[in-house]
């Protein structure tokens, strides 16, 4: 491709495999930057070349901007793909790429910075006339927090201004819990982001997490690829995603999607990104939450229902090409669901289970897609996150997608380590899931209790 002939992938696991595949389709050479623990991994074997960038510890390998840049320059790469996590949302990487004549496959440093400060992003959405959850400015101390909380109304959420991904986030039901939790939240924010600035948001109990996929080129064309519903969460971590959302009407869809496009356009966003919203099911009102300036784990859900290859689009946009399609040409066809298969024991409070996979046989079939870096004999290292695979099922409608997912999970064989497959099998039989009547607290408030009860009784819902 003009402008990009060799891509260095500064990531690991299934997303590295995903990016290598996209590059191969486009006739682009690949270099994988791998830590010592990932030297023999599947993406390392698939890439045209792999280079060892440092020891297992991410802080000494995947998180080192200078090492990534040196590896790219030293192997003759002309572009860097960050994947998700690690350096994907650090403005330092796109900056260093620009300084060294490398193309960063992602948004500009300015885009990343603008959306990295959650409080500023909120303010910007508000100025654009997009609803934001009632909330406060920064609160300096407990007194200020107490005052702001009364104004916003309990229950409230304490959030880190530099936050994201649920870190430093605390729900407070009433004033008596505020004192202790306030100190905890600022300490947690300081530890996670090096920034203890806190603000308060009204907490919406009956909420769904709805997000909109955006792609934008360097010529100001911004297109949305509809929404994903990511309400199945445990400890603010997404477990299952689907598109379209079972609760979003076509009118609401139009409103949410055009809000997302407006935000992206306002900051002159480039490349793929996701605008997240909270949908209050009681008030039938949506609110802007934050924007993620990277490709997301759950992007295949959107790919399955739109037929658009988001990673290929990312590379083409970064190479300076205009989007090859118009908004009217993007169609949402059918229904797709993704389950994140983790190396965790769902029977034992989701305890991480790294180790040797003895047998790995993934399902195939109509509408089934598996994104993974695992195989029989692969050793799951204990140094990184526990995602083993993303199982995606597509059907003509939600019902068919659910049936295909059930069938695929039943045929997914993993031995040697524990996975979350049994948990998803249970979830797919639950009447709340099937009817779509749930919210972001459903997993913790309902599903996990029922799951524990079923295991005790040896066959609830069987």
């Amino acid at each position: 491709m003009k402008g990009i002939t060799r891509v260095l992938i500064a990531n690991r696991s299934e997303i590295a495999v995903r990016v290598i595949r996209a590059c191969q389709e486009l006739g682009i050479k690949t270099v994988l930057a791998a830590s010592e623990a990932d030297k023999e991994s599947l993406p390392a074997k698939m890439a045209d070349r792999s280079v060892c960038i440092g020891p297992e510890k991410a802080a000494e390998s995947y998180l080192k901007v200078n090492t990534i840049i040196s590896a790219a320059l030293g192997t003759g790469a002309d572009a860097v793909h960050p994947g998700y996590g690690f350096l994907a949302e650090q403005p330092g990487l796109p900056e260093a790429c620009a300084q060294n004549g490398l193309i960063f496959i992602g948004p500009t440093a300015d885009n990343v910075r603008k959306m990295g400060d959650k409080l500023l992003a909120r303010k910007m959405a508000n100025e654009l006339g997009i609803p934001v959850i009632p909330g406060s400015e920064l609160v300096k101390d407990f007194e200020a927090a107490a005052k702001a909380a009364e104004k916003v109304g309990y229950p409230i959420l304490l959030k880190a201004a530099a936050g994201g991904g649920g870190k430093g986030m605390k729900i407070i039901e009433g004033p008596k819990d505020l004192n202790v939790v306030f100190e905890e939240a600022s300490a947690e924010a300081r530890a996670a982001f090096g920034d203890d600035r806190i603000y308060i948001e009204h907490f919406i109990p009956n909420a769904r997490h709805i997000e909109v996929q955006i792609v934008a080129d360097k010529f100001g064309n911004v297109i949305h690829l509809f929404e994903r519903d990511c309400s199945i969460q445990r400890r603010y971590q997404k477990m299952v995603e689907e598109s379209p959302s079972p609760v979003v009407s076509s009118r609401l869809r139009e409103e949410i999607c055009s809000s997302a496009v407006n935000i992206a356009r306002h900051i002159r966003y480039e490349n793929a990104g996701t605008v997240e919203f909270i949908f209050d099911q009681d008030q039938r009102q949506f609110y802007f939450l934050e924007m993620n300036t990277r490709i997301q784990v759950e992007h295949p859900v959107t790919e399955m229902v739109t037929g658009i290859d988001l990673v290929k689009e990312q590379i083409q946009i970064a190479a300076g090409q205009a989007l090859s399609f118009h908004q009217e040409e993007v169609r949402l066809v059918g229904h797709a669901i993704e389950c994140r298969i983790n190396a965790e024991s769902s029977e034992d409070q989701f305890r991480p289970c790294p180790g040797r996979i003895e047998q790995w046989a993934q399902p195939v079939g109509s509408g089934i897609r598996v994104d993974t870096h695992c195989y029989s004999g692969y050793f799951v290292p204990p140094f990184y996150d526990s995602l083993l695979a993303k199982l995606i099922a597509k059907g003509g409608n939600r019902h068919e997608a659910v049936d295909r997912m059930k069938d695929a999970l039943a045929k997914f064989v993993v031995s040697g380590i524990n996975t979350t497959i049994p948990f998803y099998q249970f979830m797919l039989k639950h009447p709340d899931y099937l009817s779509g009547k749930l919210n972001t607290r459903w997993v913790e408030d309902v599903l996990l209790q029922d799951y524990a009860r079923q295991r005790e009784a040896g066959g609830f819902y069987q």
């Binding site: 070349r49 792999s50 040196s70 590896a71 030293g74």
Partner: protein
């Protein structure tokens, strides 16, 4: 204050190496120089300099081959370590560009056959204008140089093989 030249830095390095100083920080203009002496575990010295300054002073450790024009080498074969011959590897402590000499026209730090002590500098690894001096960490005779000058080396890649000459083994 006048600009610090490359020769000055080498001079400072030598002085530090011969002294008991464990760590030295020098800041002048936009040049920042940090020298740390590590034990044998981490035998690396680091020279830090802001990229701004380096683009101004072009003669400073400019690699003889521009990095971007380097040919793409297919998966390099790992160097087998012959344990029976008692050869000890000196491995790259980081990914970067391997330089055998302190500057392009200077003689290399070491040649095959040369005796080295643990403290002897054997090469420089550059990570984005950060020059890391690598010390032998072992005592012996350089038996083989396994990496090519001005090429990318990976973390833990074998750079040199050293024939171990221990005092106990060679009483004469």
């Amino acid at each position: 204050m006048a600009l610090i030249s490359h020769e000055d830095i080498i001079q400072i390095l030598k002085m530090v190496a011969e002294s008991d100083i464990k760590e030295l920080h020098v800041e002048t203009g936009d040049l920042k120089l940090i020298i740390k002496k590590y034990g044998q575990e981490e035998s690396v010295q680091q020279l830090e300099s802001s990229p701004k300054r380096l683009t101004k002073e072009k003669d400073f450790e400019k690699p003889s081959v521009p990095l971007s024009s380097q040919t793409f080498v297919q998966k390099p074969q790992p160097v087998p370590i012959d344990e029976e011959d008692g050869l000890i590897p000196i491995k790259a402590p980081m990914l970067g560009t391997f330089y055998r000499a302190p500057k392009p026209d200077a003689p290399p730090f070491v040649e095959v056959g040369q005796l080295v002590t643990k403290e002897d500098a054997v090469c420089i690894i550059e990570v984005m204008k950060l020059f890391n001096m690598v010390r032998a960490g072992v005592q012996g005779r350089i038996a083989k140089i396994c990496a090519e000058n001005a090429q990318l080396v990976e973390y833990n890649q074998v750079l040199f093989l050293v024939e171990n000459i221990e005092e106990g083994k060679n009483p004469q």
